[in-house]
Each structure stands twice: as C-alpha cells, then as structure tokens.
C-alpha cells in the first residue's frame, strides 16, 4: 500500500506568531469597530416604523437560530478537527481507523433537529409576510395613498387625493419629485409605478423594498413613527446611473404636514421687486463659479445639514435672504429660452413638461439631481453646468443640452456662468 508522503510541518511557531501579530496590527490600524457599525442613514437596524421593525425583528430571529446552529455545529467540527488530527508522523502512518459507513439514528435525529429549528423561523416568517404586505385592516380607514413612479434616474411622487388647480381650469393631483413628504403616524400606501425599466423603492428605516415593475400594479406600505428625514435609494439595477437614483422621505407632524400641503398646492412663487422687503439684500448676491468639495465631504449633505436634517429641511421652506428680483426674472426667462420648460413643470409659471421632475417648489427641496447633491446654490450651479458629470447618461444632458444627430450627439444649447447664476437664483426662489 502506498503511503501518504510527509513533509515536516511547514509553519514554525515563530512564523505563526509573526503572522498573527501582523494581522492584529493591520486590524487595529483600521477603525475596526466602524466596519460593523449599523447606524448609517440607510440602516435597516435603526428602524423608524412598524414595517421595518417587523422586518428587523424577524431578521434577528433568523440570526439567533443561525448563530445557534453555527455555534453548535462549529463547535463539533472544531472539536473533531482538533481531537482527530494526526499529530505526528507515526499517527499519520498508523493503521486507518475501522471502516464505518454511517448511522441511521444519528441521521434521522439531525434531520428532525434541523426541521425543528426551521419551524422557529417559519412561523414568524408567515406572520410577517401577511403583516408587511398591506396596511392592516384596522388602519385602512386612516391610511393615505401616494403614487411613486420611477424614471431613469429619479422618482416622481403624486398625491392622488390632493388636487391642485391647473391654469386651464382643470384639476390634477399634486406632484413632487425626489422628496416624498408624508404625515408621521399615518399608514402610507405607496402605489409603485415605472415609466421605463424596473426600479425599486427602498427606504430602509421605514420599510423593505418593493420593485416598480412595468405593467404590474405593485405597492407597499409604511408608517413613520415620528417626524424625521429618511434616506432612500433605488435598489434594482436600472442602467448607467442606478447608483445615483436616490430620494428622501420627510415625515412631518400632522400640523406641519397640512401647512406644507397648503403651500405646495398654491402656484409657484413669483418674486417681484415689490415683494422683496429689503432691496439692500442685493448685496448678498454672489457669483458662483464652481462647486468646491472638501476631501471626504458628502455630496448630498454638509455636516451642518446632517447634524439635524429635519430642521435643515424646514429652514429650506422659507425664502432665502439676498434674493435679486432682476436676476430671478432673467432666470425665469432663460428657463424658457433654454427649453427647460419642455421637460419640467413649474405650475403657475411657464414650465409644462412632464418628462423631468416637477420644479414648482424645487427651491424648497433639500437635494437636487435625485438625492445626489445638497440643494445649495453652489451645487445647483455645478449641476446645471455639467449634469453629465454628476449623473452619467441623464436625459437632461442627452436630449436637452445635446440632441441626437444620426448615431452621434450634437450640442443643442449651452449656458454660461452668468446664465447659470440667473437660473439658480430663479430656481432657488421657488419655495
């Protein structure tokens, strides 16, 4: 009989100690604890509503059961590896152990134990499948319906029960983009639609995702326990800029919500010189050449914003100091001249387009470009200057700034820095 050939043990104790030491140094160099931190803006652990909480609690049940299995089976495996390890050459050369082929009682016992453990997971799973599916019966009367529609790469939100007057005398549901504002404490049933490919609506702190499928009437529900500012993101690959198709959900107290609603329903704000109380504010006008980002700074929120996002969002609802009526008027004129109006609506002003986000109150939103950039004047300037830099493949760049010419793209219009300043002033006046 051939023998297994033996080498001397390949690693000495010294080598092992060195490797272990090196590993520890590497680990301590990184902020190891941060890797396991679950307190991010899209944490599934820091839940803010009953749906997400049910999902996290169920997840923890699976964690307990699976950890139990891992510890028990792992302990047996580790014991086996240590206990039955051939420790010396003579051990390895020893007669092989007696041939044994298995034991039916052990097998059946283990199968039964596995099934029992799975039942522990199965029961709450079934309960929560029904609970998370739709608004519970006893809360249905209280629930509010909104329609969320995915576009490459932004979200449109409609309030089917909140009608606004149109210039032609008709009525249509209130429309916003990329920021869904809802009352806290009210179950929200979101109808999920898409205009193009599959997207997915995911606000981790409020509820797990459900896909926006073409030709399919999907929906989900959530409830925000208390007012707050929640991050969301598309969770199904939807093309080039999928990674930067983001949105926010802002939950307000019922009173704040109805105030917000009232303001939203009125036509776009028009700034006239008479409206500006203090003409001296003109001095506050600044030219914005380019956006500068400090190393490591987030695109979508400055540290000041992140410190208290809900309050920062509230601040944005009020007209800004330093408005320049003349510049705003120039911006409004450019908004038509540069054909922005053909894709964007500004209710009460010129815009009528529906293929881009509704901008009636864009100045009051905390982010632009679908949750990608904080809505500061500098960042809006940078966005308008080169949208393709922030959102590759977007339709404002391909279709607006540039149009198709055979298989190639040719420039349609350009905007210079002064024009962008005017556009920014106009858009930021829309509160």
């Amino acid at each position: 009989m051939t023998r297994i050939r033996f080498d001397h043990r390949p690693f000495s104790r010294v080598t092992r100690a060195l490797v272990a030491g090196l590993g520890l140094v590497l680990l301590s160099g990184c902020k190891l604890a941060d890797i396991f931190d679950l307190s991010g803006n899209q944490s599934t652990m820091l839940t803010a509503g009953p749906v997400a909480k049910a999902q996290w609690d169920l997840f923890m049940i699976t964690v307990y059961v699976c950890t139990f299995i891992f510890v028990v089976v792992g302990a047996i495996l580790a014991y086996t590896q240590i206990k039955f390890r051939a420790r010396s050459e003579s051990d390895e050369h020893a007669e092989p152990p007696p041939e044994a082929h298995g034991n039916p009682f052990v097998e059946i016992g283990l199968i039964a134990a596995s099934v029992a453990l799975l039942v522990i997971i199965a029961i709450p799973t079934l309960r929560d499948i029904w609970y998370t599916h739709d608004v519970p019966e006893d809360e249905k009367g209280n629930a509010m319906e909104v329609v969320a529609t995915g576009y490459q790469w932004w979200f449109k939100f409609e309030y089917p029960t909140e009608l606004v007057k149109l210039p032609n005398g008709g009525e249509a549901p209130l429309v916003t983009g990329n920021e869904l504002v809802v009352p806290a404490g009210t179950p929200i049933r979101v109808q999920l639609r898409t205009i193009d490919v599959i997207h997915s609506f995911w606000v981790p702190k409020l509820a797990g995702k459900v896909d926006m499928m073409p030709n399919r009437a999907n929906f989900l529900w959530f409830k925000a326990d208390k007012p707050g500012y929640y991050y969301g993101q598309c969770a199904e690959f939807c093309g080039e800029s999928h990674a930067i198709m983001r949105f926010r959900v802002i939950a307000l107290s019922p009173r704040d919500y109805s105030q917000w609603l009232e303001n939203q329903k009125s036509p776009a704000r028009t700034v006239t010189p008479a409206l500006l109380a203090n003409a001296a504010d003109r001095s506050a006008h600044v030219q914005f050449a380019a956006m500068k980002l400090k190393a490591g700074e987030a695109l979508a929120a400055s540290p000041a914003f992140d410190a208290d996002p809900l309050n920062a969002w509230r601040e944005m609802q009020h007209p800004e100091a330093g408005e320049d009526a003349q510049l705003i008027a120039q911006g409004r004129q450019l908004f038509s001249a540069k054909t922005c109006v053909s894709c964007h609506s500004i209710r009460g002003h010129e815009g009528v387009g529906i293929s881009g986000p509704d901008l009636t109150r864009v100045g009051a939103r905390s982010t632009i470009a679908a949750g990608v950039l904080e809505n500061t004047r500098e960042r809006m300037h940078a966005w308008i200057k080169n949208p393709n830099h922030f959102k590759p493949g977007n339709k404002m760049w391909f279709g607006g700034y540039n149009v198709k010419d055979g298989d190639d793209w040719k420039p349609n219009f350009t905007v210079n820095d002064q024009e962008i300043d005017a556009l920014v002033a106009y858009l930021h006046s829309l509160k």
């Binding site: 009989m1 152990p97 283990l110 596995s114 969770a235 199904e236 690959f237 987030a298």
Partner: protein, 668 residues
C-alpha cells in the same frame, strides 16, 4: 428471451458492417502538437483544455472584481466611469459563473468521470470535443465587446452592461440600443448548447459505461453529483434558452414578449431566468460537494459517513432546487401566498444541505485527519459554506429579505457560497488531482501559504459586506456618498480583495512552477480510494490496461486490500479483451471544431444582423444576414461530414511487459 435479444442485434456479436464513409480530409492522428489538441477526442485532453481556459477566465473575472473593488474603495470615486462599472459587474458575474466555475467543473467531469466509472472515454468522444469548442465560441461572443474600448471603429457598444441577470426591459432596444446586449444573448445561448450537449454525454457515460460490478450505489460521490448536475443542466437550460430567444426576437424581429409598450411582461423574464438561475446555483455547488466528499475520506482515512444519505440529499437538492426560484423575486410583488410557498420551500432545501455538512463531520469523526493542502481547502469549504448556507436561511424569511434583497448582504451571502464554497472546493480539487494528471506534486509549503492568504483575504473582503448590506448599501452601485456610514467597510473590503487576489495569484503561480519543477509522484500519492488512483500519473491514453471489476464502494481501496484476487481478475480481463481485437480507441476528428467555428461565424454575424458590413470604411453589404447564413451553413455542413466520416477508431494491444502497440484494422 435470448433469441429476441439476438434478433434485435444488441448482443454485440454481429460482424462489422462495411460502412460507407467519406471525409474531406484525412483523419488526424497526431498525438502531440497543436493539431492533436484541436482535434482531440480524449476526455483527459478535453478536460485540460476546459481547465486551462476556465482558469484564464477565472483570472480575468478576478481582475474585473479588483477593478470594481478599487472603484468602491472610497466614496464618490472616479476611478472608472459608471458605464464601465456596469460592464465590469455584468461581465464579472457572467464570467465567474459561465466561464470559470462551470467549465472548471466541466474540466473535472471530463477528467474524472470516465476513469471513476472504469471506462476508456466518454460515450460520445467527438460530441465531447464539440461541447468544448462551442463553449469557447460562447466565451468569445460574450467578451468580444471589450474590443470596442480599444478599437473604437468596432462599435459594439462595449461589453454587456445589463447585469448577468439581464432583467427585461433593460435589455430592450429602447434602453440598450447598442450591440453589447445582442452579443450577451447569443453568447449565453451558445454556452447553453455546449452545456446541454456535454451533460447528455456525461449522463449516458455514467449510466451506460460503468465497469462491471459498479452499481449505482457504488458510484463515487463525485460522479453521483456530476450525474445530478448534468440532469439539472439538461432540465434548467431550456428555460433560459427560451427566454433568450424571446429577447432576441424582441430586439431583432419586433415581437413583444417583454416590450412594455406592446403589452409585454418583464416579470415573465424573471420567472424564466430564475427557473434556470436557481438550479444553476446547485449546478455550481453540487460538483464541489462531490470533490469534498472525495477529499475528506481520503485525508480522514475513513470512508464517507452516510454515503446513501449524502447521495440522496444531493438528489433531493436537485429536485427541490427547481421549486425555489421565486425566492430571488420576493420583492417583485408576488403576493402573500406565493411568497409564503417559496419561503417555506427555501427553508426545506436547507435540510438536505445541512445533512451533507453533518455527514462530512461524521466522516472526520474518529478518523486520522491528515492536514495536507487539499484537506485544508476542503475543511475551509465546510466552514465557509456553513456561513454562506446560514445567511441563505436568513434570506428565506421573506419579509427580512425585503431589506436584504439587492443589498451587499446578498453579495456577502453568495460569495460565501461561491468562493468559500465552490471555489475553495475547486482549489482543493485542483491541488488534489494535479499529481494525477501532471505526475508531479505541488509543494506543501506554498500550498499552505496560498491557503492562508486566500482564507484571510476572502473573509476580509466579504465579511464586512454583511454589515454594509444591513447598513443599507445597495448592490450594483457605481459609487456612494460619504455620509452613509459605508466608508470603512468598503475600504477594508477592498484591502481584503487585494489580499485575496494575491493569494489566488500565489496559488496558480505555484501550480505553474509545479508543472515544470514539482516532485514526481506515483499512482497514488495521497493513499486515496477511487479508481483514478489505480492507474499511472499521468494516465495513459486508454486509462486502464484492464477494465476493472468493482467489488466495493471505494473500488481502489478494495483493490489495495485484495491484491491477489484483483491481479487474477485483471489478467483474465486483458486476455478476454485481446481476443476481441484489443482495446478499442476512438479516432480524432476535425469536424467538431469546424462545426463550432461555423457557430462562431454565424453567431458573430447574427448579433449584428441589421447592421451594414463595412470594410475599410466602405459599406460592402447592407446587413450581416449573408455572413450569418454562411456560418450556419458551415456548421450544418460540418455536422453532415461528421456523420459521413463514421466513428472510426483503432486498437491498442498491451503485451506482458506492459508495452503498448497500435493497430488499425477493419474494425469500425
């Protein structure tokens, strides 16, 4: 009864019929050199080619992964563009599944199945060669788009960028108008042809060519898992084939299977894709379970614990694997009842999987565990596969999965299954069978170094991803903002990926060194248990001088303990075989290669069907249709000539000293 059989002509006693054969070329007979590889029908050479190409693509897929990790190393990174990122993650997934793990498994199917069943080749040797070359064609079609990045005039729109799952309607011409999706559709389709043909070949080989005494319940577990895998492939691939044809028709001929504006249903694609896609997961992992089930008994020096249970649980996984596909679709709005049914089925499949782990531990229990490198990878497999399996159970809780679906938690889960599981087992298998097929050992020290680097690098890469996912990071995202709490996890994972890459590089560098300089070894360097270790390393062309008779489950182990009995038996077999004209070997052939080239020409041109053909900037043809038909014609003609050529064959004769002589007679 005997008379009926005699009349049916199935007794094998007929005299040879003079067959009409015709060939355009003389049949190739070269035993070495490039022609021998291009025309080979030897399952070992075909296995080597599969393995070589697969390792090449494994490294390419790895480089793609490292580029992805580099892009995600820091927030708001601009290392690569969003478009290139989409291409990289699409091709990383497609490559690792279809061009690395599947063909590596195919390599071992080819290398091991005929020997483990005591045969001299697969049932249809030329068809086997066809499978290989068709697979190469599929690999070329999938990767041809990369050329666009280097030669802009070849405007294929880059590599495919729709994800390995190609969800409709993103594959529609409205959203991906360029050719990359057409190449992806045809590439996967062609790979499917290769897999179906190969699987049928292996099924027939395993069922029909078993040596005397090798009953199904004596079959080595690896061969059993290969059989189950082959059935899964044959049954699962038609679903994706149909779905791909639908996409092809939508894109080229104006049908509306998935075209939303025409009332198409994108959800249909997902069902068809995952009816294939979930069994595919088991197609990837069952063969690795087979390797481990061979390696553990060898180094524990004990037979496999609970052989029948391990086999039946493999079969059960195969069956249940067809009933859980919608757990990939828990967030698509299936409704409560369907979600509940698929959640429970998914939990059920955990049972046979768990049973396998229990039996592997049972195999180790009471053994003498010799920790050579293959054993270390095999033990690493059990540990890592347990982690991947348990996070899989977490996904079966559908409401919790609504948070994890399409997040980095899922990435962590399936990389624990596919790297910690499948790849660890494949690395174990390569190290274990390398001496058999190259006659040289891989040095222990460097093997162990690579194991530890891979083990640490792998866990450093993927363990943090569980937390990234729970912290809300979605997958397939080109970049992320810096205020999401994902910075440290991503940075750490990227360092881990570099370490993993270093480990993989070390592993294969050591293999290359061993090929030239490794210490030579005999038949059975590991004191193993199955038939491949009974023949020389590397095995001769005919594998067995005498077809073995199998008396027990671990056939070679039995032979080693019953030498006298076996020697007598073998002498009798050699004599009997010589009286029938010697060992019959199949002839090489050009036609499988030519048929595959026809498919390449046809596929390459069909993908660009509606585009004009240009040469030196001049349009020479209005569409690629004539060229596509030419390719199809070449394939049909090659198949026809392949049939006309006849099976051919020659005989080997082994004399008392073991000297082999070749004869070409009138036997066909």
């Amino acid at each position: 009864m005997a008379e009926v059989i005699a009349q049916s002509g199935f007794t094998g006693k007929q005299t040879a019929q003079p067959a009409t054969t015709f060939s355009l070329f003389p049949r190739p007979t070269a035993k070495t050199g490039i022609v021998s590889w291009l025309t080979t029908v030897d399952h070992k050479k075909i296995g080597m080619l599969y393995g070589g190409f697969a390792i090449l693509f494994f490294l390419i897929g790895g480089i793609e992964a490292l580029m992805i990790r580099t892009q995600l190393m820091v927030p708001n990174n601009r290392f690569i563009s969003a478009q290139l990122y989409s291409e990289l993650f699409t091709m990383h997934g497609t490559t690792m599944i279809f061009l690395a793990v599947m063909p590596l498994n195919a390599a071992f199917f080819n290398l091991l199945i005929p020997i483990q069943v005591g045969a001299r080749d697969v049932a249809f040797p030329r068809l086997n060669s066809f499978s290989l070359w068709v697979w190469v064609v599929g690999a070329i079609l999938l990767n041809v788009g990369w050329i666009s990045h280097f030669v802009p005039s070849w405007n294929f729109g880059g590599a495919p960028d729709i994800g390995w799952f190609g969800y409709a309607p993103l594959t529609s011409k409205s959203f991906t108008p360029d050719l990359s999706t057409d190449f992806w559709v045809l590439g996967i389709q062609v790979l499917g042809i290769s897999s179906i043909v190969a699987s049928l070949n292996f099924i027939v080989t395993i069922i029909n060519l078993r040596a005397p005494g090798l009953t199904m319940m004596r079959l080595p577990v690896f061969t059993w898992m290969a059989l189950v895998t082959s059935f899964l492939l044959v049954l699962a691939l038609p679903a994706i084939a149909i779905a791909l044809i639908m996409v092809m028709f939508d894109r080229n001929f104006g049908t509306n299977f998935f075209e939303v504006s025409g009332g198409g249903q994108p959800i249909l694609w997902q069902h068809l894709f995952w009816v294939f896609g979930h069994p595919e997961v088991y197609i990837l992992i069952l063969p690795p379970m087979g390797y481990v089930s061979e390696i553990l008994p060898t180094f524990a020096r004990k037979p496999l614990f609970g052989y029948p249970i391990v086999v039946f649980s493999g079969v059960a996984i195969g069956f249940i694997g067809f009933g859980v596909w919608s757990h990939h679709m828990f967030t698509t709005g299936l409704g409560t009842v369907a979600t509940a049914a698929f959640a429970l089925a998914t939990m059920a499949i955990a049972v046979p999987t768990g049973v396998k782990v229990f039996n592997w531990i049972g195999t180790l229990w009471g053994g003498r565990i010799v920790t050579r490198v293959p054993m270390m990878f095999a033990l690493g497999f059990i540990w890592m596969f347990m982690m991947g399996g348990l996070s899989g159970i977490m996904h079966s809780a559908a409401p919790a999965d609504a948070q994890q679906q399409d997040s980095y938690f899922v990435i962590a889960h399936f990389h624990y299954v596919l790297i910690g599981g499948a790849t660890f087992a494949l690395l174990a298998a390569i190290h274990f069978w390398f001496p058999k097929f190259f006659g040289r050992m891989v040095p222990e020290f460097w093997g162990k170094v690579s194991f530890w680097v891979i083990f640490v690098g792998f866990n450093a890469t993927f363990f943090p991803m569980h937390f990234l996912g729970l912290n809300g990071m979605p997958r397939r995202t080109w970049t992320y903002d810096s205020n999401m709490g994902w910075n440290e996890g991503n940075l750490f994972a990227t360092y881990g990926a570099y370490l993993l890459g270093l480990g993989i590089f070390t592993y294969f560098a050591v293999l290359v060194w061993s090929y030239f300089k490794g210490e030579k070894c005999g038949n059975d360097p590991w004191d193993a248990r199955t038939l491949e270790w009974s023949i020389p390393s590397p095995p001769p062309e005919h594998n067995f001088a005498a077809i073995p008779t199998v008396h027990a489950r671990d056939a070679w182990w039995y032979e080693k303990t019953h030498k006298a009995e076996i020697a007598q038996e073998k002498a009798a077999h050699i004599k009997a075989e010589e009286s029938h004209g010697g060992i019959h070997m199949p002839d090489q052939s050009w036609y499988p290669l030519f048929a595959a080239i026809g498919l390449l020409v046809g596929g390459y041109n069909f993908a660009q069907l509606h585009h004009p053909v240009t040469m030196f900037g001049q349009q020479v043809l209005a569409s690629h249709l004539p060229l596509a038909i030419t390719g199809l014609g070449l394939m049909v003609a090659s198949c026809y000539l392949w049939a006309l050529e006849g099976p051919g064959g020659y005989h080997l004769h082994i004399d008392a000293e073991g000297k082999v002589t070749e004869s070409r007679g009138d036997h066909h």
